[in-house]
């Protein structure tokens, strides 16, 4: 089966040593499991997505429960669709194609099953913990440390070992390009996950990132961007390079282009993360570097798209009648559109408008629903009859899925593109007198309502398509073969020795010997040809490509002192504020509110002084956010009274009829765990936060109680509720009242206390409930 260059009498090359034909069977049982899990989690993840989309248009759809609020469900949605739906899909693709490309069964059936069940256990853990508010508060990396450890074990220990073990026992000498993408996926995701998740546990369900502020933001978006790159792109490109030729029954258009595609993509993608932090407190050099590499990324991405589409050359007549090929064409086309839009959004001037708006959401969904979704659907429909050894239950339903999904996708993204751009333009609009045209943030929310409803309709259609896939899967499974036939495949084992063809002679003449040798070795491409059949060397090179790029961005960001100038007046959070910050994270407030005012006129006009890197040095983790469904909160401290905040949490629409914020009434009822605060303060001190003796050795609890009692008294004086001193809401208000105030304090001042009187008191203790619209932002 293995091809070798022709041997010559003088220099025999290729396989050496007779190897008998060996018989083996592919393990399709594991692929069946992953395919079924893909469909199941796709339905669950998208149902949650649909629910939170409805909540934006109709806040009452959170069912009045704390577990189903937007802030808690949004991480569940993103984790479910990325790691459960797309994750199981990429595992199905890898397990099916790797065995066949290597002409061997997977290295270990036990590892395959440990991987499958371990991954499903992780998904279930996520589904249980995220609605409970157990989260690290970092987007797409929310899961707490025990689950993070499990991910590392399952991903690298089970999956990685099994994959590389399979490469080691393969019977095909050359590693097809899809395998390269899988290698890059495994090693890079391992690296991203481990380094971004480094945290010190405070309890079994709470840990604090070892990074703070700017560095944490950098690590998070290095991870976040490359999770898209190496979890949602490279494995799906591997899928494309294998399943598209299979479905089209044609080889990939250009193998040469695939080589350029792979290395360019892997090398460039890893640099691009900082484009998520334009105009923030991240050093400008890192942000600009991220932008440049993002723009360069357009070329390899389109190289891959073109390679995919041109694979169908001469087969377009089949595309017209085959829904599977249509899924692939749409998927690859959406890949092309997303990878054009991504570099465009990374350009600073474009990003200034798009960042924090729904434009980003539209971009993400065009990639996720179009590229990942349609490629997955195409693969699943292609696999179903082969795995269950029967006919697909309904080709008509598959075709209906295609069209309903396409219409749903367009109906989803077009309104959100429109809404996002509208949102960005409204935020920065000024009237003729130089004042903000829409000073009340909620005006920009109200303007989006029609788009939110259209998105619900689009999302419902897309989801309906996925339900059709589920129905087709179940019915095909019910009609499966009584006993699965397991074809015996034969292939010769790789010979123990393989002699490479001789290094080509250099065409250079009259040069130094070293130049001729370099010409032969490098210029001929001989070196790479050898690596392509050496998994270990190839893996090491892929690691070098991503590590070198990462280190060149990470090390300067961490070590150059001018990147994060300290501010003398910025002090650590008080124990009560720290507890409040934890509630902020648990409720997922960062999903709707940013804490980062960019140095843009419209932003400083609306929110106040722009954010400085030194303001975040004690923020483990950072909470800059990536979206503004609600207003930025970086300078929230002191803008409203305690009473306003408490009533706002109780019922946002009582203060502002157009608000879409969920009610957090439970925070007014649930008791704060004062005793647990000490552990949190101790961990923060361990991370380098300069807490003094006043809050060590058990004194943090006392300090928190004192501050809470003081705030509760102030609350009553403001006409607010009594007996709030031991409730969670008081800690959260303490945190909110602290936000962004240190920078305006004198350098030698103690940590800024929560203000005792807010604007409402200053105005004469007006009754909030009687002045709801005035108090609304």
């Amino acid at each position: 089966m293995s091809h070798s260059p022709p041997a010559t009498a003088t220099h025999p090359v290729g396989e050496h040593g007779a190897t008998p034909l060996e018989s083996f069977k592919y393990d399709d049982a594991i692929v069946r499991k992953f395919v079924l899990a893909t469909v199941l989690w796709g339905i669950v993840g998208m149902l949650v997505g649909l629910l939170i989309a409805v909540q934006l248009a109709l806040p009452a759809a959170n069912l009045g429960m704390e577990w189903t609020s937007f802030g808690r469900l949004r991480p569940l949605h993103t984790n479910a669709v990325i790691f459960a739906f797309a994750g199981n899909a990429l595992f199905a693709a890898i397990y099916y194609s790797t065995q066949r490309l290597c002409k061997t069964r997977m290295f270990s059936d036990l590892l395959s099953n440990l991987h499958f069940w371990g991954w499903q256990a992780i998904i279930v853990s996520a589904a249980l913990t995220l609605p409970l508010g157990i989260t690290q508060g970092k987007e797409y990396a929310e899961l707490e440390w025990p689950i993070d450890l499990a991910i590392a074990v399952v991903w690298l220990g089970f999956f990685g070992t099994n994959f590389f073990g399979t490469l080691a026992i393969r019977r095909e000498r050359h590693m097809y390009v899809a395998l390269w993408f899988y290698i890059a996926t495994i090693v890079t995701v391992t690296m991203l996950h481990v380094f971004n998740s480094l945290a010190i546990p405070a309890t079994w369900t709470k840990s604090y990132s070892v990074y703070a502020g700017v560095q944490d933001a950098f690590m998070q978006w290095w991870y976040g961007h490359n999770a898209v790159a190496f979890f949602l792109t490279t494995p799906f490109l591997g899928l494309m390079y294998y399943f598209l030729p299979k479905a089209a029954e044609k080889p990939v258009y250009s193998y040469r282009l695939s080589i350029v595609h792979f290395w360019s993509l892997v090398f460039i993608y890893i640099w691009a993360g900082p484009h998520h932090l334009h105009y923030t407190s991240l050093p400008a050099w890192a942000s600009t570097l991220g932008m440049l590499f993002s723009v360069m990324l357009w070329m390899p991405s389109w190289g891959g798209m073109i390679n995919g589409l041109l694979t169908l050359r001469g087969a377009w007549n089949r595309v017209a009648v085959d829904p599977i090929l249509k899924f692939y064409v749409l998927g690859v086309t959406f890949y092309g559109m997303s990878t054009f839009e991504g570099p465009m959004l990374s350009i600073k001037s474009v990003n200034a408008l798009s960042h924090y708006t729904d434009w980003t959401i539209a971009h993400v969904h065009s990639g996720a629903l179009g590229w990942n979704g349609f490629m997955t659907f195409g693969m699943v429909y292609w696999l179903l009859p082969r795995l269950f050894q029967t006919n697909l239950w309904s080709k008509k339903l598959m075709s209906t899925h295609l069209w309903i999904g396409t219409i749903g996708l367009l109906l989803y993204v077009i309104p959100i593109y429109t809404g996002g751009i509208t949102q960005g333009l409204m935020w920065r609009a000024f009237d003729a007198t130089g004042r903000l045209a829409y000073p009340d943030f909620v005006e920009t929310v109200t303007a989006l309502m029609p788009f939110y409803w259209l998105r619900v309709i689009g999302g419902t259609l897309y989801f309906a398509g996925v339900l059709l896939l589920g129905l087709n899967t179940v019915m095909t499974w019910l009609n499966r073969a009584k006993v699965y036939e397991e074809p015996v495949v034969t292939a010769p084992a790789l010979a123990p020795r393989y002699i490479d063809p001789p290094v080509p002679d250099s065409s250079l003449a009259g040069n130094l010997e070293v130049a001729r040798a370099a010409d032969s070795f490098f210029v001929s491409g001989w070196f790479h040809r050898v690596w392509e059949r050496k998994p270990l060397k190839f893996t090491v090179l892929a690691i070098v490509a991503v590590v070198v790029a990462s280190l060149l961005e990470i090390i300067p960001t961490f070590l150059i002192s001018s990147n994060v100038p300290t501010i003398a007046s910025v002090k650590p959070y008080t124990p009560l504020e720290l507890a409040g910050r934890e509630i902020y994270i648990a409720e997922g407030c960062y999903n709707c509110h940013s804490q980062m005012i960019r140095p843009i006129w419209a932003e400083t006009k609306r929110y106040g002084e722009y954010s400085k890197p030194g303001e975040f040095v004690y923020d483990h983790p950072f909470q800059w956010g990536s979206r503004r469904i609600g207003p930025d909160l970086a300078r929230e401290g002191g803008k409203q009274s305690h009473d306003w905040h408490v009533r706002h949490f109780e019922n946002p629409r009582a203060l502002n009829g157009n608000s879409i914020m969920p009610s957090y009434e439970h925070l007014l009822k649930q008791t704060l765990d004062f005793e647990g605060i000490q552990r949190r303060v101790d961990v923060m001190a361990m991370l380098g936060v300069p807490y003094g003796e006043n809050v060590k050795n058990g004194k943090a609890v006392e300090a928190a109680r004192v501050q809470a009692a003081q705030m509760a008294d102030d609350l009553v004086k403001q006409g607010g509720y009594k007996d709030m001193g031991d409730k969670k809401v008081i800690a959260l208000v303490a945190f909110l009242q602290r936000m962004g105030r240190d920078i305006s304090q004198p350098a030698d001042a103690p940590a800024a206390p929560a203000p005792t009187a807010g604007p409402v008191d200053q105005a004469g203790a007006k009754s909030l409930s009687a002045n709801t619209q005035e108090a609304a932002r």
Binding site: Y255, S264, F267, L292
Partner: protein
């Protein structure tokens, strides 16, 4: 280490990045330009000749009937 890096000019980091990228890109470009047609066709055809069927008609077993002539022209 922090002092050393803080004293360095910032331009050096993106410059190193660009040089590294160009080296990698040139190396890969050279490799593909020197690849033979025969080698590319063999490699590109690997998914189609993996011992299992492509066509649904042969979905339940190995598909020896797939002949190299169906490979097409890989570039």
């Amino acid at each position: 280490m922090s002092s050393i890096m803080s004293s360095m000019e910032l331009w050096i980091w993106p410059s190193i990045a660009m040089v590294l990228f160009l080296l990698v890109f040139v190396g890969v470009a050279m490799r593909v330009l020197r690849a033979t047609r025969q080698e590319c066709e063999h490699n590109a055809g690997l998914p189609l000749f993996d011992g299992t069927a492509t066509s649904l008609d042969h979905a339940h077993g190995t598909d020896a009937a797939l002949a190299p002539s169906k490979k097409g022209d890989a570039r």
